[in-house]
């Protein structure tokens, strides 16, 4: 629905990596490294919502933090409007920072418990000079109303709110600096379903009103599907598939994406006995990555070449913006497409 409005790339990520030292050192002082984000290329277009899904430990949160320069990469670059924010001096970064903000999963620990909502919202705006001092009260009322809270709550403390309301304050805080890009790191995972729907609707409404660009990180596939135009699937620090939302869910290519969608429980008892891939085993440790395709240890379709060559993220057909990092499945698809036209399975 936003596709036609998408124009310019707003952020480009080039070969981004982040390694953390693992606990304990190996022999001869050699440190084991955990490759949290392991070589990611990604472009975020203006006005879109890019969803990022994957299981815990796949590096999606680390990547999100790197996008707003809360974390410096080990190597690679994050370009915001063609400026490299990942290696920018702190002073310069401070100025541009207002344009990309973050909403955190844990709304309790991301709000200072000893400050009133008024002070929490006022401090960043005054620091960055977004609003003049005499207008600040008015601006705070406007922000609170924008996220659906009455302005009377401004002198309360964070603990006086419910989880959903605190998340609304988190959103107001992110909006206060008039950002262009907001990275939402699992903003609804800690909320109950009925409240989750409220916050998701709010995020969508704000996007339309303020022309925001979102990166939405989540593990609840339903929520990510609802809010995103385009989705990237991550596994062990790498992106294994990117496509427009409908295309990805109707036609997943990578076996991991398929397994992930199959595993997501559907709220309909009639779908209980559907055919699906059940992955065996656990996610390997990011400190000892398997060679070749890193999914081959759990992949039901793995062939010999998967164990040797690390696959690249490539278009599944020429000119398509559906990228997948599984050459085996992509080849199958090309062969099938050649013999008979692609089968559309759009239901619902």
């Amino acid at each position: 629905m936003f596709h036609k409005e998408i124009k310019e790339p707003l952020m480009r990520i080039e070969n981004l990596r982040k390694d953390y030292p693992a606990k304990g050192t190996g022999l001869i002082g050699h440190k084991n490294m955990i490759h949290s984000v392991d070589g990611i290329d990604l472009t975020i277009y203006e006005g879109e919502t890019l969803g990022i899904v994957g299981e815990s430990g796949c590096g999606k949160s680390t990547m999100g933090r790197q996008m707003v320069a809360l974390e410096r990469p080990t190597s690679g670059r994050v370009l915001y409007k063609e400026q490299d924010i990942s290696n920018m001096p702190a002073g310069q970064l401070q100025k541009i920072r207002t344009e990309f903000q973050m909403i955190f999963q844990d709304s309790t620990s991301s709000l200072n418990p000893r400050k009133q909502i008024y002070d929490i919202l006022a401090a960043p705006m005054l620091y960055h000079g977004i609003v003049k001092k005499e207008n600040i009260s008015h601006e705070i009322n406007r922000l609170l109303n924008l996220v659906g809270l009455p302005s009377s709550v401004r002198h309360r403390y964070p603990h006086e709110f419910s989880g959903g309301q605190r998340q609304r304050i988190g959103i107001a805080k992110a909006l206060s600096l008039k950002p262009k890009l907001i990275v939402c790191d699992e903003p609804v995972s800690a909320l109950d379903v009925s409240v989750q729907a409220q916050v998701l609707n709010l995020l969508r409404q704000l996007q339309e009103e303020l022309r925001l660009t979102y990166v939405f990180i989540g593990h609840g596939l339903g929520a990510v599907h609802y809010i995103s135009n385009r989705i990237a699937v991550m596994y062990l620090g790498k992106i294994v598939e990117v496509a427009d939302t409908e295309e990805l869910f109707n036609n997943p290519i990578h076996p991991y994406s398929k397994a992930l969608f199959d595993a997501s429980p559907l709220p309909d008892p009639k779908c209980r006995h559907r055919d699906r891939i059940v992955l065996s085993g656990e996610i390997p440790s990011a400190a000892a990555l398997p060679g070749g395709c890193r999914f081959h240890t759990r992949c039901p379709y793995a062939v010999d070449s998967c164990r040797e060559m690390e696959p690249k993220l490539e278009s599944i057909s020429a000119g398509s913006n559906h990228l997948s990092a599984c050459p085996v499945m992509s080849d199958n698809l090309r062969r099938r497409d050649f013999s008979n036209g692609r089968e559309e399975n759009k239901d619902n």
């Binding site: 629905m1 299981e55 815990s56 419910s162 959903g164 309301q165 109950d192 379903v193 009925s194 409240v195 989750q196 729907a197 409220q198 998701l200 609707n201 969508r204 593990h219 609840g220 596939l221 339903g222 929520a223 599907h225 609802y226 939302t245 409908e246 869910f249 397994a259 992930l260 969608f261 199959d262 595993a263 997501s264 429980p265 559907l266 709220p267 309909d268 008892p269 009639k270 779908c271 209980r272 699906r276 059940v278 992955l279 065996s280 656990e282 996610i283 239901d347 619902n348």
Partner: protein, 330 residues
């Protein structure tokens, strides 16, 4: 069929400064042999408290102030701790959400698992070890000999949950209460655990009470469902009729507000306005009335838990006037 477990008008209150706050209000349900009963609801609706009071694990802050919990005809609430200890952990067991805090971090898995087996089944050390290995294999943990020697922190979340299930299974229970057993796990691991629970049910003819907030998990596992809201059961039905024809407005709203991966993205997601009432002790009428789109002035004064049809029980007095009022609107 004679139910395995019958909960009758269970009332639990939190006790704080000599004041009682009711948190489950006359909750009644039963579990049949071999059945999976799901209790679903949002946080704070009293579903975990119900489970803990069945197990007699409420602790000091909460107290059962009324009702009965009949397990094979015997009232668990009237038993002494001693009598309860014979049943608890063998015939009636529990799997917790937070596995890290429910396994002892300073003992090995073997230590903890074998202890249960020795105490309840009276095995000697060697037999207990052999049986522990066998039961770990049952729950899909390969190389179970090595796992016995490990400490809980050395295992992944999914493996820890499997160990918990093995422990719950070890003494041939008749009923397992699983409190959000998959909530802390990733979806691919969640699917493995759900499949495991179904397999074990078939193999051992277990009854399971599954407590969850996830309608997806309910749809995958349940035979029968109880929906709870603000300390009360608001709807009870078998799983197919609940999803096909939810009657209570809260159940309807809950089902509509779950974003599905095959849903229509262009449609605005239905959400329930407002929040769950925090103090509902003295509410006379329907506790959902303030958030309910169908509420009438009458709803503030009365509530009624009654049979809607052969498959449904609903706490909504509007539902009585027939399907026109409630189910056609959705």
């Amino acid at each position: 069929m004679i139910p395995l477990l019958e909960v009758k008008k269970l009332e639990v209150a939190f006790i704080e400064d000599h004041k009682q706050t009711i948190c489950t209000d006359k909750v009644s349900f039963s579990v049949n042999p071999g059945e999976i009963l799901c209790i679903v609801g949002e946080s704070g609706c009293g579903k975990s408290v119900t489970a803990l009071s069945i197990m007699g694990l409420l602790g000091n802050t909460a107290k059962v102030i009324g009702g009965e919990v009949l397990f094979e005809g015997k009232d668990l609430l009237k038993m002494t701790e001693r009598e309860l200890d014979k049943i608890r952990g063998s015939e009636l067991t529990m799997v917790f959400q937070d596995v890290m805090n429910s396994l002892n971090p300073v003992f090995t898995i073997g230590n903890q698992l074998e202890e249960t087996i020795r105490i309840h089944l009276g095995y000697d050390k060697k037999a207990a070890r052999e049986y522990a290995i066998e039961i770990l294999e049952k729950v899909g943990l390969p190389d179970s000999k090595a796992i016995l020697k490990k400490y809980p922190h050395m295992l992944s979340g999914g493996m820890r949950q499997r160990v918990m299930i093995a422990m719950a299974l070890a003494c041939h229970p008749k009923l397992i209460i699983a409190d959000e057993p998959t909530t802390a796990l990733d979806v691919t691991i969640q699917l493995q655990i759900m499949k495991l629970l179904l397999e074990l049910r078939r193999e051992f003819k277990l009854s399971i009470i599954l407590i969850t907030h996830d309608m997806g998990v309910v749809a995958e596992l349940a035979d029968r469902v109880i929906v709870m809201y603000a300390g009360q059961c608001v709807e009870e039905a078998d799983v197919n009729s609940l999803f096909e024809n939810p009657v209570h407005p809260y159940t309807q709203a809950l089902l509509q507000s779950v974003p599905s991966i095959y849903g229509n993205r262009n449609q605005k997601l239905a959400s329930i306005p407002g929040i769950v009432p925090e103090k509902y002790q003295n509410m006379k009428g329907c506790r959902f009335a303030k958030r309910c789109p169908y509420a009438s002035p009458e709803c503030a004064n009365r509530q009624l838990y009654q049979k809607f049809d052969s498959k449904h029980k609903v706490r909504c007095h509007l539902a009585r006037t027939g399907k026109e009022t409630i189910s056609n609107v959705s």
